[in-house]
Amino acid sequence: MACVHDHSCEDHDCSSDFSLYKHVDLSKVSALNEAIPGSVKSVFRSWEQRLNSSEGHLESNEGDPELLVFIPFTSDVKIKSISVVGGADGTSPSKMRAFINREGIDFSDAQNMQPIQEWDLAENLQGVLEYQTKYSRFQGVGNLTLHFPDNFGGDATQIHYIGLKGEATQLKRDVVATIVYEIMPNPSDHKTKADGGGGLSHVE
C-alpha cells in the first residue's frame, strides 16, 4: 500500500506511529451534530484497522454537513500529524479546523474562533494521506477539538477513521476545576492559618 512517507511500509511500521488512539479517553469523546449518538467512538482504531468500519462510522445529520469532534486524552500528547478517512460520493470532509485544550466548544464558538491550525482536506478513502501539524503548537495537548465545516457536496458528512500520530508524555495538564471570581474581594472573608496568630500580615 502506498504511503506518503518515502519508504516502504514493510520496513517501518506505520501502525506504531499512529498509536495515539490508545491515549484517547474514549468514554469522554463526544461529537456535535452526529446522527447516531455515540457513533463517534468507533472512528478511533489502530492503523491496520483504519479501513475496517464494521462497527460503524460517524455521520452527520441529513442535510447538515458540519461536524464537531471533541477528543480528550488520558495524558498530554504531542501530535505530529492527523489522518482522516472520509466516506465516498462527496461525503468526505473538505476542511478541518483544530482547537486544542478548549472544552465545551459548540458550533457558534467554532465558527467564530481562530483555530490553532486549519487544513484543506482531499478525499482520502484509502487512508494514505496525513496532514502535518505545526508541531510547536501541538506540544502539550490535553484535548483536541476538530471542526469539519464542509464536505465535497454530499448530503451528510461521513468519517470512518481519525488517526493521530505523535508521542504521549506521561503528564497530565493541571486543570483547575472551578474558579470562583469575586467582584469585590475582601481578604477578611478568607481567614488563613496565619491570621490565627503569628504571621506577618494582619488584616482587620
Binding site: L32, D106, T178
Partner: protein, 405 residues
C-alpha cells in the same frame, strides 16, 4: 441521575389570566415550575435550573442556572402577567443561557410552557429545533392553555426537529379539574426518562392519590421544604415497614391454612396491620390515580371503621401471592414460634456448656475451697450431666428437623 442544566421558559402573557386551570393558568404554571425545580435538584445535587419569562416587556432571564432552590422559588414570586409571548426568542435566549453554564459537563435541557397561541410558522420552529438538536440541547414542551388551530401541529413539528433519541418530550395538558402539576408528575418531563426524580414523583403521586387536597401532608413545601421532605420520607419508610409486616403475616396465615397452630389473637393483630398496609398497597397498584380516588376513599373509610369483612377482601390479594411463597420459610417460622413458646433457645447454650465436664471441672478447680475430688461435688456433677444429656437429646431431635429443610 443525569447531570443536567435546565432552563425553564415561563409564559406570563395576558392569556395566563384565564381561570380554566385553578386558580389561574399562571398560578398553575408557577406550581408546576416549583415542582420541576425541586425534582431536578433532588435527582442530582449538581443539577442547575434557571428561569426566564417570555412575555412582559420582552424575554427576561430571572435567574441563571443555579442549584439554589430558594433563589428559584423566590424569583417566581411577584411576577407580573402581561404582554405577548415570544416563543422563538425565548428558546434562543434559553439556549444562550445554557451555553454559558459554569459546568460544561452538564447536559443541556430547555423546558418551555406554551400557554398562548403560537404566532410563528412551522418552518421557523423547525429551524430552531434543528439548531437545538445540532448543539445537543434537549427540549420539553408543555402545551396547555389556549387551544389554537395548528398549535399542536406546530409544537409537534418542533419536537420532531429537536428530538434526538427520545430525549425530548411534549405533554398536552387539557383544562379541567386536574392541576397542571399533578398531570406533569407522571410524565417523562418529571421522571427524567425513567430514572432520577422518580422517587420524588412516586411519593408526591401517592400523596396526591390519598385524597389529601392541596399540599402534601398539609404542609406547604414552599414554606417548609425540610418538613415536607421529612414527612414524605417517613411515610415511605412506614409503608415499606408495613409491607414487610404484611408479607410476614400473610405467610403465617397461609401456614394456618395448612393446619399449623397459630393463636388467633396474633392473627387479628397482624390483620389490622395488614389492613393499613393493604391500603397503600392498593394505592400503588392503581395506575390511574384520578379515577380510583372515590373507590380509595370508600376503602379508607371502611378500614378506619375496622371492618374485618372488607379487610379480608383486600387481604386475599396479598395472601394469594404469599400462598405460593417459600414452604421452607413457613416451616422455619413455625419451628421458631414453637421453640420460643417452650423457651428452649435460652437454655440450649447453657446446658451445652454445663455438659462439658472438663470445662466445669476446670472452673471448679479454680474456685477456692472446692475440691473436685470431693464425692459430693462429683455426685452433683454427675446429676447435672445426666440432666443436660436429656436436654441435649431433645435439641438433637429438633436440629435434624431444622437441617432437613
Amino acid at each position: 441521575m443525569v447531570l443536567e442544566a435546565t432552563m425553564i421558559c415561563v409564559d406570563n402573557s395576558e392569556w395566563m389570566r384565564n381561570g380554566d386551570y385553578s386558580p389561574t393558568r399562571f398560578q398553575a404554571q408557577a406550581d408546576a415550575v416549583n415542582l420541576i425545580c425541586g425534582a431536578k435538584t433532588q435527582s442530582n445535587p449538581e443539577n442547575t435550573v434557571g428561569v426566564l419569562t417570555m412575555a412582559g416587556k420582552g424575554v427576561r432571564v430571572l435567574v441563571t442556572p443555579t442549584s439554589d432552590l430558594g433563589k428559584i422559588l423566590a424569583c417566581m414570586h411577584g411576577l407580573e402577567v402581561g404582554g405577548e409571548c415570544n416563543l422563538a426568542a425565548g428558546i434562543q435566549v434559553a439556549q444562550l443561557a445554557l451555553k454559558h453554564r459554569q459546568n460544561k459537563k452538564q447536559q443541556q435541557r430547555i423546558i418551555v410552557f406554551v400557554g398562548s397561541p403560537v404566532k410563528y410558522d412551522k418552518k421557523v420552529l423547525e429551524m430552531i429545533g434543528r439548531k437545538l438538536k445540532k448543539n445537543s440541547v434537549a427540549l420539553d414542551i408543555v402545551n396547555f392553555g389556549e387551544e389554537d388551530e395548528g398549535k399542536s401541529e406546530k409544537l409537534e413539528a418542533l419536537l420532531a426537529a429537536v428530538n434526538n433519541n427520545d430525549s425530548s418530550h411534549i405533554v398536552h395538558v387539557p383544562s379541567g379539574s386536574n392541576a397542571l402539576s399533578d398531570v406533569l408528575i407522571s410524565t417523562p418531563i418529571f421522571t427524567g426518562d425513567g430514572e432520577g426524580g422518580s422517587g420524588f414523583a412516586a411519593a408526591a403521586a401517592a400523596a396526591a392519590a390519598g385524597g389529601v387536597s392541596g399540599f402534601d401532608f398539609g404542609v406547604d413545601p414552599n414554606l417548609d421544604p425540610e418538613l415536607a421532605l421529612a414527612l414524605r420520607v417517613s411515610m415511605e419508610e412506614e409503608r415499606a415497614r408495613q409491607e414487610a409486616a404484611a408479607k410476614k403475616a400473610a405467610e403465617e396465615a397461609s401456614k394456618q391454612e395448612k393446619g399449623g397452630e397459630q393463636p388467633s389473637a396474633s392473627q387479628d393483630a397482624t390483620m389490622t396491620e395488614n389492613v393499613s398496609a393493604a391500603a397503600p398497597g392498593a394505592e400503588d397498584k392503581t395506575s390511574d390515580l384520578m379515577d380510583d380516588e372515590n373507590a380509595l376513599l370508600q376503602q379508607a373509610l371502611a378500614m378506619s371503621m375496622d371492618d374485618p369483612a372488607a379487610s379480608v377482601v383486600t387481604r386475599d390479594t396479598d395472601m394469594s401471592e404469599a400462598a405460593a411463597e417459600d414452604q421452607d420459610l413457613a416451616l422455619a417460622l413455625q419451628l421458631s414460634v414453637q421453640e420460643g413458646s417452650k423457651d428452649q433457645a435460652s437454655q440450649t447454650d447453657m446446658s451445652q456448656l454445663l455438659a462439658d465436664q472438663s470445662f466445669v471441672s476446670s472452673i471448679l478447680a479454680s474456685l477456692p475451697g472446692v475440691d473436685p475430688n470431693d464425692p459430693s461435688v462429683k455426685d452433683l456433677l454427675a446429676s447435672m450431666q445426666s440432666q443436660s444429656e436429656s436436654e441435649k437429646k431433645d435439641d438433637e431431635d429438633k436440629a435434624p428437623k431444622e437441617d432437613s429443610k
